[in-house]
Amino acid sequence: MDLNGGLPGRSTLSVRDLRVRYPGASVDAVAGASLELGPEKVVLVGPNGSGKSSLLRAALGLAPVRGGSVAVLGRDVRTVRGETGVGTNLEEVYRLMTLPVGRLVSLWADLKGGRPEPVYRGIEEFGLAEVLGRPLFRLSTGQAKLVGNLLALAFDPRLLLLDEPFDNVDFPRRRRCIELLVRSPAAILLTTHELDLLHSLPGWGLCFMLDGQLVGRFRADDIDRLYASRGEVPGALSVLRTADGAVSFTLDRGDVPLRGVSNLGYLRDRVA
């Protein structure tokens, strides 16, 4: 079953009716999201707190899954072991112990069965050589994000799960990061809250996430043609049902154009 109009081919990530709820929370962070990812690149856009990172964390086995299922590279995330083809930039997965970045890269190469030299070269290329002697928690937010991105991209991943990879990253390095991601042969699910970013990702698939629910699939190329409307519009590409009511996404017509909207949360407020 193709849940989101994904490309046919071998599944890299299969999320079905996923529910994530953290201890003590009264609502689900992810409330019944489904996504099918093949060997392709998809960007997942949503405002802060919409559940994007929780979805990624569930796929990495790091979030408390209360329902539904997640399969990564064809294997159930609950039972997958020793699958080295998945990379992520989430900083928490690199905190096995306190190590300077240089030794962290070396250790990670050992754990992934790869070579550290390409990561060292990437770090130098990004002008980050000075971070090699410092642990991740001593880096600036942008530096830590870049190191996480480089570790994710290293060691020949087949699936990259990237959480806000450009947060606090300056423009030239952001552009270089995008080049690396576009060139990477890996399937990618990338989360961001920046709609502006979509213009830099032509050919990528596009999904939106609001209030823990996922809607799509669209094309990032179509961002200037997409509209959002209140209620269920006949012929809509997708309909998102939130606690505030339904929001329909349509092409070339509708209440609010996504063109020029920088934040999806703001868009929802306007539609509501």
């Binding site: 990495l60 086995g61 072991r81 690199y94 112990m97 250790l107 990670w108 050992d110 992934k112």
Partner: protein, 268 residues
């Protein structure tokens, strides 16, 4: 860099461990050698047994700081382990082995340093030579104790992380030290049943450390030479049983590790 090398280096360069495990324990030895030794009979045998008892108790505390350091590190690493077991070649057995080597190496150093401090401080104060009777045994018991501390810390943290929630974490991190104080001091002055002393790992470590340093069998009451002697094979068997049980349990619990945020822990 291999995981074993990385962990060993990280443990050996842990400043907190060196402060609480060595510098703070040196303060206890100064107190034991120079302040509390006033009423001691000035005979070489009494001085040796006195120094050995101090060595056994304080080395036990020193080794216990290892459990606290490992527990804290593990708490911060649950997400890394959860990811690592799924998406790298890391396995619970490989992780446990690395921790065992790191803990054993640090414990080896702690044991020898404690013995060196006792020899230097007590020897200088009493004006006599008080060296360990069996340095190899001191090293061996220390390494075995390090393995116990690693197993204990890992099991305690994983039980909390997997089943109880991080609110209990600060208590669990201190539990090894609380038990070390309770059982360590108890054997100094109380006549605990011999069966209990063999079954209790803290008393096993204390008895073995005492015998390794003094060259005499540990007693049911460590400071009472007339109380019943303990057989060291019984203490070794008791401690080995705990090490095997805890390390095995740790490897099993690691397979089901639940990644948690340290921010779930209790804050003032």
């Amino acid at each position: 860099m291999s995981l074993i090398a990385a962990y060993t280096r990280a443990v050996l360069t842990n400043g907190s461990l060196w402060f609480w495990g060595v510098a703070f324990m040196a303060l206890w030895f100064v107190l034991g050698g120079y302040v509390f030794s006033g009423g001691l009979a000035p005979t070489p045998s009494a001085e040796r047994l006195y120094a050995s008892a101090w060595f056994a108790v304080i080395a036990l505390f020193s080794l216990t700081t290892l459990a606290m350091a490992i527990a804290t590190s593990l708490t911060y690493g649950t997400s890394a382990l959860g990811f690592g077991f799924r998406y790298t070649r890391l396995t619970p057995v490989r992780y446990t082995t690395a921790l065992l080597v790191a803990a054993g190496t640090m414990a080896f150093l702690l044991g020898l340093l404690m013995a060196g401090l006792v020899s230097a401080l007590f020897g200088a104060h009493f004006g006599t030579r008080i060296v360990p009777a069996d340095l190899l045994a001191v090293a061996g018991v220390s390494v075995l104790s390090g393995a116990f501390m690693m197993g204990l810390a890992t099991v305690l943290v994983l039980v909390v992380v997997n089943h109880l929630g991080l609110r209990n974490l600060s208590f669990v991190e201190f539990l090894p030290l609380l038990l070390a104080y309770l059982f360590g001091f108890s054997q100094l002055f109380l006549a605990l049943p011999a069966g209990f002393l063999y079954l209790c790992p803290w008393n096993d470590m204390e008895s073995l450390l005492f015998q390794a340093y003094s060259g005499s069998p540990a007693r049911q009451v460590l400071t009472d030479g007339s109380s019943a002697a303990l057989a060291w094979p019984g203490s070794v068997a008791g401690l080995l049983g705990w090490v095997v049980g805890l390390v095995g349990l740790a490897a099993v619990l690691l397979r089901r590790i639940r990644p948690v945020s340290v921010q779930e822990g209790r804050q003032i």
